[in-house]
Symmetry: C2
């Protein structure tokens, strides 16, 4: 298949682009490289020494003989986005090209507004581009399990059969997202569902859980293919961050009681899920929702697993319970369904000691690059603006102005 990966320079996007290319698909990466800029703005960096996109693509070609096409630009710039659709003629577009950090969106008003405008406009542009230029193309959109929040009922995959006052309907599952970022994904989901309904577009909305891991078979081929490994309080995801903390003897930063339960998956399953969605497209007019995770854990369980793995390596790992900077339930019911991707053939990589060992080894290997001042949470959900200890400049994708018709 011909598959565009929007956001293909990012954490999940890069692993996905390589995997799809390896599997024989024709792949194009569409990316503005702004994720690298955000690291600069926030004064943070990935643990791993990520190469430039050009170097990455050259290495991939040298290692495998496979060429990944590349379009550099911002999808909030419609003309740019449309040109990639016209030129590449994708059968599927995998859309990772959004600001994806909850704390980033909660820094202050500008970051909240930027996150929502950037994500909503990019997705709207994509819907219009597909309708105009490629209506049979399948949209594979990355959403998040965080769209659902933590309701006191089982979480279904996108839709809920409701019986009420003797009548019945199947309705979109009610959403209770927990940050301005998660809200942006809820906005996207509503927009996508509508576009499928009025225009007959075909879409799969993947509500992904927390991703962990960094290596995939493809990125392991050459160090120049190494993936991001974010451990800072803004972009770091919890299991990865705990491994880095353990490696340097920093107490694991559990927020509150640690009873927050979420769905998790290995990045090697992310890439497989994406391919499964592409290979089994939604029907015209269908907006299908898959919950993309393989296991549920409480945050404290994750911390305890990392603690045990660290002790096996001779590390002394403490667990710290910090006041929760987020507004969220620290203990709650959580039971989210996730059978649709398994039905399509997903064989999960469950969280194992060997994976924890390998993450810890990566953390040890790049230990010199670890900046411990990036561990502590600095973004408080309760405050309307947060000053982090590093200077930041607000950036907005230039395309946002174009998209809303500004000069």
């Amino acid at each position: 298949m011909r598959i565009s990966v929007l956001g293909g320079d990012g954490y999940c996007g890069w692993a996905t682009a390589l995997y799809l290319s390896k599997r024989g698909h024709s792949v194009a990466i569409v990316d503005s490289l702004v994720r690298r800029q955000w690291d600069e703005d926030l004064g943070v960096a990935t643990l791993t020494p990520v190469r430039s996109l050009a170097q990455r693509l050259e290495t991939w070609r040298a290692q495998t003989g496979k060429r990944i096409e590349c379009f550099i630009g911002d999808i909030t710039d419609y003309e740019f986005l449309a040109s990639t659709v016209r030129d590449f003629e994708p059968d599927a577009v995998v859309h990772f090209a959004e600001q994806r950090s909850a704390p980033y969106s909660m820094i202050d008003r500008k970051h909240a507004v930027f996150t929502q405008v950037n994500n909503v406009v990019g997705t709207l542009n994509l819907l219009f581009a597909l309708r105009e230029l490629r209506p049979q193309c399948h949209l594979v959109k990355l959403g998040t399990m965080g769209e659902y929040g933590t309701p006191n009922i089982d979480i279904e995959e996108g839709y809920l059969t409701v019986e009420h006052n003797g009548r019945k309907d199947v309705l979109p599952f009610p959403k209770q997202p927990g940050s301005f970022y998660h809200l942006s994904k809820v906005h996207d989901s509503h927009n996508i569902l509508f576009a499928c309904r009025i225009w007959g577009l075909r879409a799969t909305d993947l509500n992904q859980g927390v991703v962990y891991g960094t290596m995939t078979d493809e990125s392991a081929l050459d160090e120049a293919l190494i993936n991001r490994f974010d451990y800072d309080e803004v972009f770091g995801t919890v299991l990865n961050r705990f491994c880095v903390q353990a490696a340097v003897g920093y107490p694991l930063t559990v927020y509150g009681k640690g009873g927050q339960t979420r769905g998790y998956l290995d990045i090697r399953d992310t890439v497989r899920c994406i391919e499964l969605a592409c290979l089994h497209p939604a029907k015209p007019g269908e907006c299908r929702v898959f919950n993309q995770f393989t296991e549920q854990f409480r945050v404290l369980e994750i911390a305890q697993m990392v603690q045990a793995a660290g002790e096996k390596l001779g590390l002394d790992v403490e667990i710290d319970h910090l006041p929760d900077p987020r507004v969220e339930a620290e203990e709650h019911y959580y039971n989210a369904k996730h059978s649709k991707l398994t039905d399509l053939g997903l064989k999960p990589h469950l969280l194992s000691e060997s994976l924890l060992d390998s993450l810890m080894n990566i953390a040890m290997r790049y230990r010199d690059r670890i900046d411990q001042s990036l561990f502590a949470p600095q973004v408080d959900w309760r405050k309307p603006h947060n000053r982090r200890h590093r200077t930041m400049v607000m950036t907005a994708g230039e395309g946002v102005g174009e998209a809303v018709g500004l000069p």
Copy 2:
């Protein structure tokens, strides 16, 4: 009370500002006057000869001795919006300041993106301004009954008690909006609910039905206080438009079968509902939802009532069934609850022959201003871009650029 009316130069906003002023509240209008610009851009005009906002306010003062304060600017410009909150110190902010036409949002990509960015950013700015400067102030936000769509179950006021697999929760009512405009209101509702939860703000989200009528006791005081009366296919609401069509012998433009059922209310009830919401504020942290309409009608019923009223005046009124330019069910179940405002004391003005007569009389009186070329629908939901017969220029509130951090 001190009440800011954002969008106070518009159709519902102007009537509300006058009513609240008459009732003894201190009122400020905050408006960018962009609604007038959109008329120019689309080549349309209100039936009634609306005066400049300055003339309106001078007339109000001359007639009643009451002064309405006025801030001209765009609420997508945060510094401007914040300055109005600092200067006026409102106890309640009534927020009408959004692009409110479904067809406008469906013209093309630019109008869709503009509608969502304008509405979402304006509301986000307001939430941040209240959190920063006036956390006890009550937000009274205009939503729309169109957020719910037409589910096959009863529509509740904002929240639904769900029993599922033996467990129970009260969740936001699932939304199925029918245009990029209606989607923008759904996005707002999610953002507002979240801000109440994390910051303890107090909000009332009013899901308003289709408003009809134009005269209120206040605007009737002087012709210079006359309200808008939109009858064009973009901004006109259905009952008002039918009355104008009847007045000039143009067949009433029913879309499809006309079985579309919606909630309706008289503009004299809109203003009363707003005051009731202000006088009985939500509690801190509460995001309350009221369904603001008084009666349900099928579109064809509305057409038949207008036909009967026209015939009484000696007019020959035909009903035309046009292909539905919207993607919507032309026959469906609809039963929406609306008891919360009644519980607070609303005494509805139900749709009556005398109201229809008065609307028809206004249409006859300003008959010379009617442009029949504005009746036929020109915006087709199924097309990604629609060319209307008048030239249009895309306008975007300048503040949108500022809001997203652009130069």
